[in-house]
Subunit: 367 residues, 2 copies
Amino acid sequence: MTARKTLTLEGQFVLHRGGRLHAPVIAYETWGRLDRRRDNAVLVFTGMSPSAHAASSPEDPAPGWWEEMIGPGKPIDTQRYFVICVNSLGSCFGSTGPASINPETGQPFRLDFPVLSLEDVAEAAWQVVRSLGVRRLHTVVGPSMGGMSALALLIRHPGCSRGLLSISSAARAEPFAIALRSLQREMVRQDPEWKGGSYAPGRGPLRGMRMARKLGMITYRSAEEWRQRFGRERIAAERVTGDAFDMDFEVESYLESHAVKFTGEFDANCYLYLSRAMDLFDVADHGGSVAAGLAGLQLERALVIGMDTDFLFPVHQQRELADALAAPERTVEFLALPSIQGHDAFLVDMDRLRPPVARFLQTERGG
Amino acid sequence: MTARKTLTLEGQFVLHRGGRLHAPVIAYETWGRLDRRRDNAVLVFTGMSPSAHAASSPEDPAPGWWEEMIGPGKPIDTQRYFVICVNSLGSCFGSTGPASINPETGQPFRLDFPVLSLEDVAEAAWQVVRSLGVRRLHTVVGPSMGGMSALALLIRHPGCSRGLLSISSAARAEPFAIALRSLQREMVRQDPEWKGGSYAPGRGPLRGMRMARKLGMITYRSAEEWRQRFGRERIAAERVTGDAFDMDFEVESYLESHAVKFTGEFDANCYLYLSRAMDLFDVADHGGSVAAGLAGLQLERALVIGMDTDFLFPVHQQRELADALAAPERTVEFLALPSIQGHDAFLVDMDRLRPPVARFLQTERGG
């Protein structure tokens, strides 16, 4: 069962950094109903890897990636809001991306896919929003990469949303995060099975992807959390293989099992494109500085949430984003939450995240 | 020109976790002179990758890896102290390690080398110290892995040193650091050129080593330093290759050039053995807890220095080490320095590190 819907963006879709796609498809899901005034729509952008299945629904009861956040009576309350979540352009869960068939060749795009920017992810999502009869969003919500996509949308379509909820995101990629993602991409590309991007569909650089995912998991969490969870616990004796330099510690086993699961689902070329899109993103590309880029958003209110232990999207970047968003007649709030779960807190530390999100969305419209 | 000396440890060297080596060789250098009372010797353990060439000398004027720290009139003053630095057992700069010829086979040991522990690194160094006529060290100095080796030495030979200077080190590896090093080892082992460890001497998994080194460099520095150094600077247009997913940013180019340099020098199997030795090290293996392990050191004074931005050997671990070293009649000082250069500060932020090291070593002997 799926609640996935798709929209074909008819004609030529011109990308931010050049190139075009013919009639790309965007997958999305919705929850709740658009009210008569059409002013209760909330758009949720995802982080790098999730699908549009952010929450369960009668059509698809499988739990979504933000199940505790979206639903009836939940912080993003689907009894009150019409919630839309899109699978990013360039991803591989129903939206057109490098793993999709290029209509010009009958083969997957692979590296013939144009350079992807988060401006393109934003633009494609906006076309979905417009197709649903929404002219102005109540709030655009973006965790992690999704917060960057939300900023790209606000910049390209000033006034498109009254509210912004940015969680564990940033106005631009900093060199530390760029270095980590660059190394992740190198792991994928150095795997001989990558084959310059031309692996067979459904196959590919599984080892490289597994290592890239492990580095991701290491950077998504915090040292403190792992200390509490794993300490120096050894793996059970019956699981020791005896291979030289195989796993000794429980933390290694944890990474391995989760990385194996991930790499079966996510296409390697899509990963490369989305990863680089994050590196390339910089609000300052729109006007010369972050402040100039954010000058014309026509936004009424914003809440910027960061996590103390996030070192991929560090809290100082989020304070900077909140400062740059400050404007007369606009309410901007910045919250640094003391989660020990690092960047992943937005997915797992829900007891901490739900209250401020609920409060932001329960405030009277226009309040 | 070389100032390198070697000592052959005659007979069978039995390793801490089992196995033995026949007459291994340890490379070392010395500076200054042992005085008549033989109480002015300082032993310097290295981090994971350096040679024994910690400083220049008339015999070898090439700058050493701690050139600003060791020499006449420098913080570790060779006019006052007889300074010894050893190349770790298991390394590849003159000491016996996996890249050395196994006398039983006439081939490199490779993965036939026994499991290496820092207790073995410590024991081999101690035999060098004893061969030089020293019965008790004035101070044992250890940055990074070297601090762990220093603790191992003090535990195995209580009373072997009056002083301990631990810099950016820890009493045990925590799961975050283990996860990073485990992933580095996986990068090396997944490189097809590793060949299960049996690559030809001087060749090997250069790509895997390069990636492992990049991850090392990322974890040795701090996000803040990189922000100041690189920002979002792009590489020069004439160096852009046009290859898909090749480097865009200056930080990527920096990592690449430094990683290439490193991988030409360091043997991959030695890297694997030393990396795992760090993961395996735990003072608590000696007595059941860190406190019990450190109970019988017969140490008079200790200085434990950490760096605020070090997330590989985080400052809380160094505070814990200092706390665990506290004992009646022992002077223990803990210093957290506000360097932005992370774990690598001990190699590069010398203006910050020299004064406390000089002060510790200028204190009257026995003071």
